[in-house]
Amino acid sequence: MATMDELYQSVIIEHDRSPRNFRRLEAPTHQADGRNPLCGDEVHLELRVDEEGRIAEVGFQGRGCAVSKASASMMTTALGGRTLPEALELADRFQALLTGKREADASLGKLKVFQGLAAYPMRVKCATMPWHALREALRIEL
């Protein structure tokens, strides 16, 4: 079991410092705001879905702890090229991983580092918050 320190040192700090796709999109087709009322963390998520129904671009902005920022950052890289049903399925698999309902497997790719967080239920919401925003965004087309 990874300790919190290892989790931070392996990946979270790096994404916190240089988050991927930390920007606004020029022509988003979907967007949503995620919020954790308990701690005040916020994320604004934007997606552009192309004519074929695949996610072409993802961008996020916001403020929050390193866990939520790293999770959002890694989510944006994991979503590229996926169809909307595939993206939602990935969201479900990620949620199941963090709530201990599912073991990590290859389909989660780099996201499986977050498995260690399952031992810290108080922090799970930090990591799942951007994924909740994704679900919200995919419901609301601009």
Partner: protein, 389 residues
């Protein structure tokens, strides 16, 4: 609890401002009640019910004397500070509320002293907090003259630790004809509170921050105010006479205590107050102040730890941020060392907005805190700095 481990390390408990650990006497009193005299109160004529009733009513006298010798009938047992404020909002304020009525609060209030007034239909207007972490008393005086229905103010801030000059504020409010409710949740565990001289009209606190159990708290109100207020909840134990046509209510405080109360909780709170009464409170206050000052120096020596600006009179709260690290990450990494601190907005979002910070880390000091706990905190923070270096 303080001899347990957390994440495999001896626990360093620095979150008493959220909930205090309980003396053995409190646990024993509650266990003894359940083991030897558990029964409902004010109902049975048999011995166990009689004992439970005597213990419950005795607690009211203990609390009345703890608060400076007020009348026991002015002590209403509730679930906690939050319920006490909601009771006053719904029963004192709401029945006489007019459109445009407003309640004067402060920028350092806990959400529990903001939202109940809004739910009752009133606007809330805050007294500003200065850059030094104190209430702006000139602004308070001016706002009091503008006709609020009530001043609702915290005795000691859960985020800053600031002890507000309640007697002075209450005197100002009295001159302006404004009643005063004081949220004493963070104060009663640290300061001797004498309600016969403080000048407040309502005072409330939770048992669990006063070394007692969760689920029980106290609302004190001036008898004439309580008597004029309609009951808030209906049920058993709060009535005088019930018929389908008309019901009359029991006298205070019983008309505010509908249903079977948390009897064991009240007995635990009684034990906590007795325990506190047997301590040398002056010595405890001196111990806490010494640790608070030592804690400030330890935090300042870490480097990259920024303490919130607060005045010198404090209930032993150290609130800070760490450069480059979000408070939740700080708290999670400290947790790896068994160190329990609070991270977040501490239910004071307006204050955090005023300070320009989304969240902070809070360590709070109690009678059982030792210098070693604060040294462990400083060492933990050095490690956090390394992880984020």
């Amino acid at each position: 609890m303080l001899r347990t481990t957390s994440r495999g390390k001896p626990i360093v408990y620095l979150d008493t401002a959220a909930s205090a650990q309980k003396p053995q006497a409190v646990l024993d009193a509650m266990t003894r009640f359940y083991e030897t005299s558990n029964a409902n109160i004010h109902r049975g004529v048999y011995q166990a019910s009689e004992q439970a009733t005597l213990a419950y009513d005795g607690a009211r006298e203990t609390l009345a004397s703890f608060l400076g010798g007020v009348a026991p009938e002015e002590i209403v047992f509730v679930r906690g500070t939050t319920e006490a404020i909601n009771l006053v909002a719904q029963s004192f304020l709401r029945p006489t509320l007019r459109p445009d009525d407003w309640v004067l609060v402060t920028e350092m209030e806990h959400h529990a002293n903001i939202v109940p007034w809004q739910l009752a239909g009133a606007r809330t207007v805050p007294v500003p907090v200065t850059d030094g972490g104190e209430l702006d008393l000139d602004a308070a005086r001016r706002l009091l003259s503008e006709g609020p229905r009530l001043l609702a103010v915290v005795h000691a801030s859960n985020t800053l630790g600031t002890i507000n000059p309640i007697a002075e504020l209450a005197a100002m409010a009295r001159n302006a004809g404004v009643p005063v409710l004081v949220d004493g949740a963070q104060a009663v565990g640290h300061l001797a509170v004498d309600l016969t001289t403080l000048g407040a009209d309502f005072y409330c606190f939770s048992g669990h921050k006063l070394f007692g159990p969760t689920g029980v708290g106290v609302l004190w109100g001036r008898r004439e105010l309580l008597e004029a207020m309609p009951p808030w909840q209906g049920g058993g134990d709060m009535i005088d006479h019930v018929s389908f046509e008309r019901t009359t209510f029991a006298p205070v405080p019983h008309k505010f205590e509908a249903g079977t109360p948390d009897i064991a909780g009240v007995i635990g709170l009684d034990a906590a107050v007795h325990w506190l009464g047997a301590q040398d409170r002056t010595a405890i206050a001196a111990h806490e102040e010494t640790l608070w000052r030592a804690g400030r120096e330890l935090l300042d020596a870490v480097g990259g730890v920024v303490r919130l600006a607060v005045p010198d009179r404090n209930v032993g709260i150290l609130t800070f941020t760490v450069d480059g690290a979000h408070p939740h990450d700080v708290a999670s990494l400290l947790d790896q060392d068994g160190i329990c601190v609070r991270a977040g907005h501490h239910c004071t979002q307006p204050l955090h907005r005023r300070l320009g910070l989304p969240a902070t880390v809070r360590a709070s000091i109690a009678p059982y805190t030792a210098l070693a706990d604060l040294e462990a905190l400083a060492a933990g923070l050095r490690r956090v700095r390394q992880v984020f270096a």
